[in-house]
């Protein structure tokens, strides 16, 4: 097992005089990608903001990150000013499919590209232990989601430094193949959920739909096979 890099204990988080979340206990290990999910309004953003108070250890990227970036700077400048190793940046630029836009101003990029650039830039600022992203997959199409998850994977595997990533998301299905630990946020703490792609896909689905699934086991299996076929179909281009 990798070494533990942080433990957070938060008794309660109070917002506007009301206790929103209590009993947070979170252990973070090196090279871990942690997904936090939970119903809308349970306080995911609040928790992530609270964690990001430890500014010396944590780099936090809020939702809609592209609003914070100077729109007139070129992508090249935005990425190389992070101080990360040139070869590493170049490799990740390819990984993020950004080669074609390096000389463009940030404002000239598409929504998906902007999102990837903001995330990549945060990851390249290589002086923190923990990187937190609030809903980094929201409103992205399937291909953009995969690119970002693969980027997280690559950065964790290839970085020589101690590092781990926490993301909040609604999109359990997409993260399952990539994530190391899934935690459900409830008003009374974080609950660890074991989720693996095939075995628990029905459970995941039922959690999202909030209804029992109305298909026989054979039919569910056929649909999971179909899901994987269609994903391959869309990425093979």
């Amino acid at each position: 097992m990798n070494k533990k890099i942080a433990t957070f204990r938060i008794d309660k988080i109070i917002s506007k005089g009301e206790t929103i979340i209590s009993n947070i206990f979170l252990e973070i290990f090196d090279k871990e990608l942690i997904g936090i999910f939970g119903s809308s309004g349970v306080g995911k953003t609040l928790l992530l903001k609270q964690l990001s108070e430890y500014k010396d250890k944590i780099n936090f990227l809020p939702q809609n990150p592209s609003e914070m970036i100077n729109p007139y700077r070129t992508i090249k400048d935005l990425l190389f000013e992070t101080g990360a190793k040139k070869s590493f940046i170049e490799q990740l630029v390819v990984e993020c499919e950004l080669t074609g836009v390096l000389n463009l101003a940030f404002s000239k990029c598409s929504g998906g590209q902007k999102h990837r650039i903001a995330i990549l830039r945060t990851l390249l600022t290589d002086n923190k232990l923990i990187y937190i992203f609030d809903e980094p997959l929201a409103a992205l199409d399937f291909k953009n989601k995969e690119i970002i998850l693969k980027l997280f994977d690559k950065v964790l595997k290839e970085s020589k430094h101690t590092k781990s990533i926490i993301i909040s998301t609604h999109d359990l299905f997409t993260i399952i193949p990539f994530i190391d630990k899934t935690l459900e946020l409830t008003s009374n703490g974080l609950i660890k959920r074991e989720i693996s792609l095939f075995k628990d896909v029905v459970k995941t689905y039922e959690f999202l739909i909030k209804e029992p699934i109305d298909l026989s086991p054979e039919k569910i299996e056929a649909r999971i096979i179909l899901l994987n076929q269609l994903k391959t179909f869309l990425t093979e281009d």
Partner: protein, 235 residues
């Protein structure tokens, strides 16, 4: 009773300007009278061309093979020209809904007034019963379109299809869910499942994870071909 709404046979569709090029080929598909059917393909794969064929919209400088035919409701075989004029004469009733569809509503009028513009005959009991069926609060009936939330508007747009004097035979939905968060998207899929018991719905979507559990059949569009890759067995 027949279960097929459209039987589409098109050997090839060409563009003629600037050069003759095949756009889509070997189309041989059947669309059932009910159910939720997903069309999956990356952008630029020809989805809008395929929809323009189904909706009888003429593309400039596009040629369709003369042997093409569309069979409507099993017994009526039409050439493409006949099919287009058949649609013009409203013998086949379809709706095309994309992200701009709410512009068809008048945002300065209330929800109720907009419903009455679509269907003068509808009674308040009918409206209430449809709103209840789809868990949409009847409180919004007296709010202006521009005052209701994005999620409510999206749900309302979809159920307007059932508030018309006549239920459409086919509804085409182009990427209507792509700007939604997960929870609202689930609500939309549930609504579509219900509507699809009464008519046929074709959707395009990027969210395969939800689509695979809701749609009854899947078409893919790639390398200029449209293929059926999955259809639920009859139960």
């Amino acid at each position: 009773m027949s279960t097929t709404l459209l039987e589409i046979k098109i050997p090839a569709i060409f563009s003629v300007v600037p050069e003759i090029k095949i756009l889509l080929k070997n189309i041989n598909l059947s669309i059932p009278k009910t159910g939720l059917h997903a069309l999956i393909g990356s952008s630029g794969s020809g989805k809008s061309l395929f929809f323009s064929i189904l909706t009888g919209t003429k593309f400039k400088s596009v040629l369709i093979d003369k042997k093409a035919s569309i069979t409507v409701n099993d017994d009526l075989v039409l050439s493409m020209d006949e099919y287009n004029s058949f649609i013009k004469r409203k013998k086949f009733f379809y709706l095309f809904i994309d992200q701009n569809y709410n512009q068809a509503l008048d945002e300065n009028l209330t929800v109720r007034e907009n419903i009455l513009l679509l269907n003068k005959q509808i009674t308040i009991e009918e409206i209430n019963s449809i709103f209840n069926e789809f868990n949409l609060t009847t409180k919004i009936l007296y709010s202006k379109i521009k005052e209701i939330s994005g999620g409510q508007l999206q749900r309302f747009v979809l159920i307007t299809t059932l508030l018309l004097p006549k239920t459409p035979e086919l509804i085409i939905l182009d990427e209507v869910t792509s700007a939604l968060d997960y929870e609202n998207e689930v609500i939309i899929w549930k609504i579509l499942t219900k509507i699809s018991k009464k008519c046929s719905i074709i959707v395009t979507t990027h969210n395969l994870n939800l689509a695979v559990f809701f749609a009854n059949s899947f078409f893919t569009i790639k390398n200029k071909e449209v293929n059926l890759v999955f259809r639920e067995d009859d139960e």
